[in-house]
Symmetry: C2
Subunit: 345 residues, 2 copies
């Protein structure tokens, strides 16, 4: 999988340079109702889709195909996805399948998009209410990563993305991990420093994906925090009280860090440091021990689990991961108890 | 692109061996109303779709996704597409996009499917009446190629597939080409010999695709006969008198062989030999010089053309191709005249 990454805070210049190199017969932008206005002057060919995960549907995909057709897009065109993970996932899928594949680039406008969705080639949409049930592994040819859109990003979304930044540090580098725990969400964004943090973070994902583009093995490392995190997210959704993805991941990271300590004897100090950071920044945690059975059931049905067992990525220590670890119900129950204790709920 | 090819006339044994190796949690067969009965006993998980190009639609794709979901297919399942090009194209796309990709194997039941659609990774469906407008490059992990289904194949379909066999020989090997021109469609099928011919023919495609899986360049060689052939096919469709794909390709092969002679001075003898074979086996040719303008317009809008020019693959001689050759309206007009003369219409 070839995917070039451009870290810059001059997005327009980077787009224009890419356009000159690719020399497409037509450039089509895809944005959602919030991000469409981020580019000015407005691009002459712009497909605006509704925002939000509820609209990440086949219906929206067909609207994008229809518009591409109407605009006369061909295999020699260039698609630019401008937005968060919903836009890059759905726009990427639409581009990757239109005439069996039109070149596309991603310009993530959220921190979560920049460190996760926009990079690594996963595209798709929700189907019958199942997240990313239909999709393709199709990398954007280029990803332009910038912090310039983050000044206006709601704090919840910054925090949500930051959970994935934390995850990448936990998979790779204890120094980076400890330094991230000093982050102050209330201070104004230091763009230069944040762009450097992104460079580090995205590279972790890129290196892992390069060794396993289609998620046959090692890519499961990126699932750290997500087996448990997805269960939190799904439960909150079922309750009609959805939580930001990154919050669920943050709680999942703590839970799986506890599991790592219980099972692989990873150092407890780092688990505590992480727990404190998550307690201080990822607010209340709306679950009790009455929810354990349902959470365990959700983990057993995770897309990446097999034969009804719960499997996680665990850490021998910060920076050293083990994929495909089977964990027992008792282990998870104990870890959830410790999580609630750690978060003081 | 990894794709293993199995040439055998014991299909069931080959499928069972693959299943043992892959060890899927579920095997799902996809067939159309005609091919569903070819496997007995009936597989326990079978998705039967309507047949014919008219049903190669998004609606059929969603029905396949729905059934896969209902049957509990996961990333660890195996999909077996049993049928002609419609089934392997559409079933391949459905499998390649369900949960971002379930492993699938193709078992083509037509000659055209065996030498063309089932091999090389092109999947997709028609959209807004445009052929294969949406799709993906997604190779079947394995293709089981057999002649056992051909005894009951209508003669038209045998001839249709044979045009692609001829094309592969024209791209690679004059000896094979001349030997194919001796083929007698009225004789009973010599399965052993035909399987050998398929082995040769499919390898030509595989070698070209391996050098260019996503159709960036050399793969255009496989378009030999198709720039003109597609125009015939589309015109016949618009007239409400569709012709088999392979017939249009056969006429396209002769036309482009004539163009090769006119432009690249390829030997005229072989063009005559080909023309005679096509005249004798691919019946009447329902076009006159009044259709030239419309045919030229269709060629200019071919998916593979660019900037409104007509581009073809041409032959310097049998076995030596040149891709992306631009041909003028006058050249094509002259070639169509010679074609009609050659076919005696």
């Amino acid at each position: 999988m070839k995917q070039s990454l451009i870290f810059t805070n001059d997005v327009i210049e980077a787009v224009e340079r890419l356009e000159r190199n690719v020399n497409p017969n037509l450039t089509v932008w895809i944005a959602d109702v919030n991000t469409a206005s981020l580019v000015s002057p407005a691009p002459s060919h712009l497909i605006t889709i509704p925002d939000g995960d509820d609209n990440k549907t086949l219906e929206t995909v067909t609207r994008v195909w229809d518009e591409m057709e109407r605009m006369g897009a061909t295999r020699h065109s260039l698609i630019i996805n401008l937005g968060g993970g919903m836009v890059t996932d759905l726009g990427g899928f639409a581009a990757a399948t239109f005439k069996r594949g039109v070149r596309f680039i991603n310009v993530p406008t959220t921190l979560l998009g920049a460190v996760d969705a926009a990079v690594g080639g996963k595209t798709g949409f929700n189907y019958h209410g199942l997240k990313n049930e239909v999709g393709a592994f199709a990398p954007a040819s280029d990803v332009i990563i910038s912090t310039r859109f983050f000044d206006t990003l709601p704090l919840d979304e910054m925090k949500s993305g930051f959970a994935e930044v934390l995850k990448h540090a936990m998979l790779s580098d204890r120094g980076e991990f400890l330094s991230l725990l000093g982050h102050d969400f209330n201070a104004p964004i230091d763009h230069e420093n944040l762009l450097e943090r992104l460079r580090h973070s995205v590279q972790v994902k890129v290196d892992i994906v390069a060794r396993d583009p289609n998620e046959q093995g090692e890519r499961k490392a990126l699932n750290l925090g997500h087996t448990v995190g997805h269960a939190f997210e799904s439960l909150a959704m079922k309750r009609g009280k959805p939580v930001p993805h990154g919050y669920a991941v943050a709680w999942g990271l703590v839970t799986e860090a506890v599991l790592s300590h219980l099972i692989l004897k990873s150092p407890g100090d780092d688990v505590h440091r992480l727990g404190n950071f998550v307690r201080d920044n990822y607010r209340d945690f709306p679950f009790t021990c009455d929810d354990y059975d349902e959470l365990l059931e959700l983990m057993r049905h995770d897309k990446k689990s097999r034969d009804g067992e719960i499997t996680c990525t665990l850490l021998a220590t910060i920076g050293e991961y083990r994929t495909g670890m089977t964990v027992s119900r008792d282990d998870v129950t104990a870890a959830l108890d410790i999580l609630r204790d750690q978060l003081g709920v």
